[in-house]
Symmetry: C2
Subunit: 333 residues, 2 copies
């Protein structure tokens, strides 16, 4: 068995072989209530958070991660951003006929590491094989289910909230740009792809009024801030100097004419909470290992008829940060 | 907006436009705790069943259904087969650049109908757009979450169980064969694609000892029966005459040299339970609308060293029914 064949998706003997010899080798220790068409779990808690995402990133492997790691971190981070601890997963694989089994194994190994790190259980999984040319190598869907610790939602956003950014931005988008065959920039930059719950755990245990949390993935900081401004029906004023952009990301943006604020991240998030609680939250984040976290701005009353995101630089001059338009970078995640 | 563009997957303004103008038009009334990266639900019940599946069926539209209807029925049926009532869904769409918006709308309309019929809520959804050629038109992942009413599992299978088949077999597989461009058979056959929970609801409320339930999808009856024989470590003896095969399916199998037992179904299931409870279960299924349900066989002690599925015809002669091997029909679901 060197490559995926159509027979591996038939539901018959070859499917069983693929599951036993490849998938179970990496994932069997994380299965719960498994072996049939789904999984079962007991609930004794009040509220669950659920998030689904499909992963189509190209290339499959990039500095700092791969589609496997991304598929676990991504959906779990979405659940973490709802103030929940990710606990369960479902996984759906779509494989192209001809995919090298070795490639699949590398991806599964990487998933297993991340699943293990986060102490997750897999409730259900599915594999489809499609003829060569019907999909590009491998796409993965993951759905994460978590226990809500402290519910966070954009609905809580309010005039006067401070906005905290967890870490430097643009690394994932920058790395994918460089890793694409068509662009041959050399750079030591690594994707920031990582699971975020561990950094939020202690913050979620406090009595701080966390209003909203959001990881800045597709569309980057620009997309989240614009969505928040619209939800709150307020302006958001951002101090540009407070946003850390890695030197390499700055270089890539300059060469390619990109805006770092619109680049995708896979390990950076924004947090909004009442201004007088921001310092305390920042301390907790620093202690949790996010040494670069900083207060980057605030929500305030609209200055125009529509809510806007406003960037202010160190000279005091201001400009609008728009919602990204057009195709920024397909298959970023 | 006539066709899907890469910008629709950017996470920026065009993505918002696609969500508001297309997706929400069909699905907004089913959303729960939505609008961010995931959904929340309250649990006051003990056990949940979860199942995920990716749908890659080709062609997208076929007599009796389409990829949209299939994506709802399929995952909900998997949950129903665990003895649970499907309640929540997550949906992941992977769209090809250039896909006609009209095609997407037809699919969403069909999903909405099935979601409405089953009174489901959508907890989370995600859309990715990939460049032309990276995926064939549209793939959908769905994860269904249900409340367990009466747990069913292959682990319960036992020597002496009767096996009930819900309905005639092979229609979905036969239809997909005919609907493929390369095969020009004319037939009135429709896929049996349908949601199954409504037929099981009253049965699950009884005190009958339902041992296992399984819909016979990829790999058909042959795959399920072989899996059950292996799980129980017993033989399964099936009376061929009790299995109803629609005339058109029989014709297709004869012409194409297929085995109806290996053809995929999307609305037929098998039920195993103690022999002395089978008649009562059958009555309830008949009342629930499955007029064609019948007892087709039984689980019994192994006659050889390995468990086998044995087909007996009306003349009394027997043959083995093997697990399907090779590529039966790619992209069946």
């Amino acid at each position: 068995m060197q490559r995926i064949k159509l027979a591996h998706g038939s539901g018959g003997a070859a499917t069983q072989e693929l599951i036993s010899n490849v998938f179970e080798k990496y994932l069997s220790s994380f299965l719960q209530g498994f072996g049939e068409d789904g999984g079962i779990f007991n609930v004794d808690m009040g509220r669950l958070a659920v998030s689904t995402d499909s992963y189509v990133v190209s290339p499959l492997f990039f500095p700092g991660g791969d589609i496997g790691k991304l598929s676990i971190c991504g959906s779990c981070n979405d659940v973490a951003m709802m103030g929940a601890k990710p606990k369960f997963l479902t996984l759906g694989f779509i494989l192209e006929e001809g995919l090298e089994i070795e490639t699949l194994q590398k991806i599964l190994e990487s998933m297993a590491q991340e699943i293990n790190k986060n102490d997750l259980k897999i409730l259900s999984a599915d594999t489809k094989v499609v003829p060569k040319g019907s999909v590009d190598k491998i796409f993965i869907n993951s759905t994460a289910i978590g226990e809500i610790i402290k519910p966070c939602s954009v609905k809580n956003l309010a005039n006067g909230d401070a906005i905290i950014l967890s870490s430097p931005i643009g690394a994932h988008g920058g790395v994918i740009f460089c890793a694409r065959n068509e662009i041959n920039l050399k750079s030591d930059l690594k994707s920031d792809c990582r699971s975020l719950f561990c950094f939020l755990d202690s913050l979620l245990q406090t009595d701080l009024n966390l209003h909203a949390l959001r990881d800045a993935t597709r569309g980057g900081l620009a997309a989240v801030l614009n969505e928040w401004a619209n939800s709150a029906n307020c302006d958001i004023l951002i101090q540009e100097d407070e946003i850390k952009i890695p030197k390499e990301v700055g270089g890539i943006c300059e060469i390619l004419g990109l805006e770092a604020y619109s680049l995708a991240n896979e390990g950076a998030f924004l947090l909004a909470l009442p201004k007088d609680e921001a310092k305390k939250a920042l301390e907790i984040l620093h202690q949790a290992g996010l040494g670069d976290a900083s207060i980057i701005g605030e929500i305030r009353a609209k200055s125009l008829s529509i809510p806007r995101v406003i960037l202010q630089n160190s000279w005091g001059s201001m400009r609008f940060l728009d919602n990204p338009v057009g195709e920024l970078l397909p298959r970023i995640c």
